[in-house]
Amino acid sequence: MNELQIYWWAIVSLLGALLVFLLFVQGGQTYIGCVKNEQTRNLIVNSLGRKWELTFTTLVVYGGAFFASFPLFYSTSFGGAYWLWMLILLSFILQAVSYEFRRKPGNIFGERVYDIFLMFNGCVGCVLLGVVVGTLFFGADFSVTRGNLLDGSAPVISQWNGSHGLEAIASWRNLLLGFMVLFLARTLAALYFINSIDDGAEFAARMRKSVIVNGGIFVVLFLAFAAVLLTSSGYGVNESGVIEKMPYKYVSNLTNLWWLGLMLLAGVLCVLWGIVRTALPCKGVWRCGIWWTGIGTVLTVFALLCAAGYNGTAYLPSVSDPSSSLTIANSSSTHFTLKVMAWVSAFVPVVVAYIGYVWYKMNARPLTTEEVENDHSY
């Protein structure tokens, strides 16, 4: 592993962490069906509608950055877990049009259908992206044989289990992670609504209750996931350079790379503080939970994704052929390409800065029904 490979794994992990945070949009979409009051439903959709493209773009950039830095993952996971990725794509296509079309006259299918699309994306998008992350820890059934390229009748390098991703969806460990992501997203969404919508005390109290319920379920799922992960074996490169199964690999990663362990702990505490502080009775509702839980989410997911790849760990283990497992070292682009991309990544702070500035300007005042009814809206 060289420093640029380490750097790019960190960038990809950071993008993944930001994506999980931004899934609050998807989490928020799952509330659409729970709200009977049309005015409130429109408020929810419009407050999410001003952020959906950010989540969408982060997913696209995450894909692009993974392609540029670790092309073997792109060719193995995407081409292999075909149905898993296709279902994710399907849900995001439906999302992309639903905001703009839902209340437009002549939209053919009616507002209700577009709202169902948004809910579908909210549930399926979160769970299946969680399943994808699950394969990074719990592995998949695939092989990589570069020499296949020279076999004109069967030239495919990366071969995956015949179920092509459906088996990953059926794995309970992956699903545990998937539902954990879903309830985290719902918790973040409720915190976001509290922060960004002004629809009276009743709405705020209701969202506070949602934080307590969804946050509670999330914490239980997170503890279960942590227990499974920390007692599971991982795959890593041994001293002879061979990839093999290693017991308690992730415990060893989090202790050997102590800063990752600390970051994980700090992240978890931030997430919990955001939830608990919002749940605590106080005058009115505390509006800052989204920032604590959001930043905590980014720190936690970043630490977990780093732990999936650093310390000689196979970040996409092959359970049937460990030597085919993908590591940061064997799946990355060349030093030259990573260097070019590293220069490009120097502009990321500029991007983050303008996104932050625009967010600040646009969210300076909470969204109200009056604004939704009088201005351009979804």
Binding site: S69, G80, I93, P155, T337
Partner: protein, 523 residues
């Protein structure tokens, strides 16, 4: 083997479907984003309420269209992995970079500032809003830039070398990839064609408003902006189209031959203006190429070489490896049979490299590397059994080229006429026939735009990466049945989205036509 053929066909069909549907929305986004930005600039400079209302009206149509472009765009990016996984590894070291740069530089710019465009009217200053509108337009163009750099690289691979140990191509010069002449030309040609499409859309919709008898001032002012953007766009498209023909002649001569349905070339080759191909004609036989044709003398030599007497090779000439000098002397180049042999030798050398590497035989590795280097430029031909395998579908390329060129010529006249009428003969814009013509041109510009991509992409078949990787070696290891299923799934979904978008767009335009846009007190 049959399943492999079927898988390649369905994978191609799925990518073609996605790309063509994506391209229905993207050029309108490119064109309208610029037109809206110009209108808002006019408002910012003059403070004339008319321009603000025009900006907001066209922005509504821009917003309806934008979402579909985003929705289909994400599939294209991910399909490189899901359906072309071998490709993703074989050239991922080079191809991934433009995609990532596109995301970092362009997509965030678009997605951040488009929210300001639509929701920021009362939240930010006029200057900030105008900046956001321009940044959205710039983001759209930047996004086109990087995806076209990636596409151009597939047509003209540059700035890379092959790494036999990893069995993939690796980037050695980013500037050669990003600034290749093919990429630059393709970028201007494509973006300008988006401006043309946006211009026609604005002029065409304005014609509809005039037909409905209201909004005279709105429509005529829109025709002026749309007309000038379209006029600039069509001139740039034609100029870069000429450059593109020269480049295709140099780097993809087989595509040029297919575009012309040309099997035997000559010095001072004519250009088929109108023609009907002989459908039973095959490479190497003695049948006539055309059943009917009207040729422009020496036209193709001028178009492809900028030299009236230059030789332009046909399909059979290329297969046989024959070129002629200006004096008519024959020069032998590498025939396709020899290329196939060279490709197979390169693949054998690569296999030998792998064996030597496994055995730790460094001398064997060095020897295999030398052999591989000698023939690597024809690596992809090693997958073919006969030279005919390397010939693209001639009919589709030929007719699509003619549709593009003829429609392009018409569009130049269209913009000249539109600008002439709106400035010098505004009375003519009351005539129904003229207005219906303007409206109908909306369909023509879309056909023209799609035909251009068919020429570019069908004409380069069977290659994914020119000369190095054919489609059949670039695929993923999924079953053809799975891809067939997702193809129909996407086909159904895209049809629904398209119908919904057109319906919303039409309803919105009708709604606008029923009110006095520039003086509506409820706005």
């Amino acid at each position: 083997m049959n399943d492999l053929v079927s898988l390649v066909d369905w994978s191609r069909a799925q990518f073609a479907l996605t790309a063509m549907v994506h391209w229905l929305f993207v050029p309108l986004t490119i064109g309208l984003s610029l037109i809206v930005a110009i209108m808002e600039t006019m408002w910012y400079r003059t403070r004339n309420e008319k321009w603000l209302r025009m900006t907001k009206t066209w922005m509504k149509l821009f917003g309806i269209n934008f979402a579909c472009g985003v929705a289909t765009g994400i599939i294209l990016e991910f399909e490189f992995g899901t359906n072309w996984s071998n490709y993703s590894w074989f050239v991922g070291d080079i191809f991934g970079a433009p995609l990532a740069i596109e995301g970092i530089f362009a997509f965030f710019l678009e997605s951040t500032f488009i929210a300001v465009m639509f929701f920021g009217w009362k939240k930010v200053s006029r200057g900030f809003h105008l900046t956001a509108t321009w940044l959205t337009a710039i983001g759209v163009v930047l996004s086109a830039l990087w995806i076209l750099v990636a596409n151009a690289w597939m047509q003209y691979p540059a700035g890379m070398e092959f790494d036999p140990g990893e069995m993939r191509n690796v980037m050695v010069s980013f500037t050669d990839v990003a600034l290749s002449p093919v990429a630059i030309n393709k970028f201007f040609h494509t973006v300008a064609s988006g401006w043309v499409l946006g211009g026609v859309f604005v002029v065409g919709v304005s014609c509809y408003l005039l037909l409905r008898g209201r909004n005279q001032e709105f429509a005529k002012s829109s025709i002026k902006v749309g007309g000038w953007v379209g006029m600039f766009g069509i001139i740039l498209t034609m100029w870069t189209g000429d450059g593109s023909a020269v480049q295709v002649g140099k780097v993809q001569p087989m595509k040029l031959a297919a575009m012309e349905g040309l099997y035997r070339g000559e010095c001072g080759q004519g250009l088929v203006g109108i023609g009907v191909l002989n459908p039973s004609k095959k490479p190497g036989d003695d049948q006539k190429e055309m059943l009917f044709e009207i040729k422009i003398p020496k036209g193709l030599s001028i178009l492809a070489r900028h030299d009236a007497n230059a030789f332009v090779p046909g399909i059979d000439d290329l297969i046989e490896g024959i070129e002629l000098t200006a004096d008519g002397d024959t020069i032998h180049t590498v025939s396709y049979a020899d290329r196939i042999e060279a490709g197979k030798r390169a693949q054998e050398a690569l296999a030998a490299y792998g064996k030597a590497q496994k055995a730790g035989d460094s001398a064997g590795m060095a020897e295999a590397t030398e052999l591989l280097k000698a023939d690597y430029q024809y690596f992809g031909y090693g997958y073919f059994d006969s030279p005919e395998d390397a010939v693209p579908p001639v009919a589709l390329t030929f007719y699509a080229f003619r549709v593009m060129v003829m429609a392009g010529g018409y569009l130049l006249l269209f913009f000249v006429a539109a600008l002439f009428m709106v400035y010098k003969r505004p009375g003519w814009l009351d005539k129904k026939l003229i207005l219906w013509g303007g409206l109908a041109t909306i369909a023509i510009v879309w056909i023209c735009s799609e035909a251009g991509w068919i020429v570019a992409e069908v004409g380069r078949q069977p290659w994914v990466v020119q000369d190095l990787l054919p489609c059949k070696a670039a695929i993923s290891g999924v079953s053809s049945g799975s891809v067939m299923l997702t193809f129909w799934l996407f086909a159904a979904l895209f049809t629904c989205l398209l119908v919904a978008e057109v319906s919303i767009m039409v309803r919105q335009i009708r709604k606008e036509s029923k009110r006095d846009i520039l003086n509506d007190k409820n706005d």
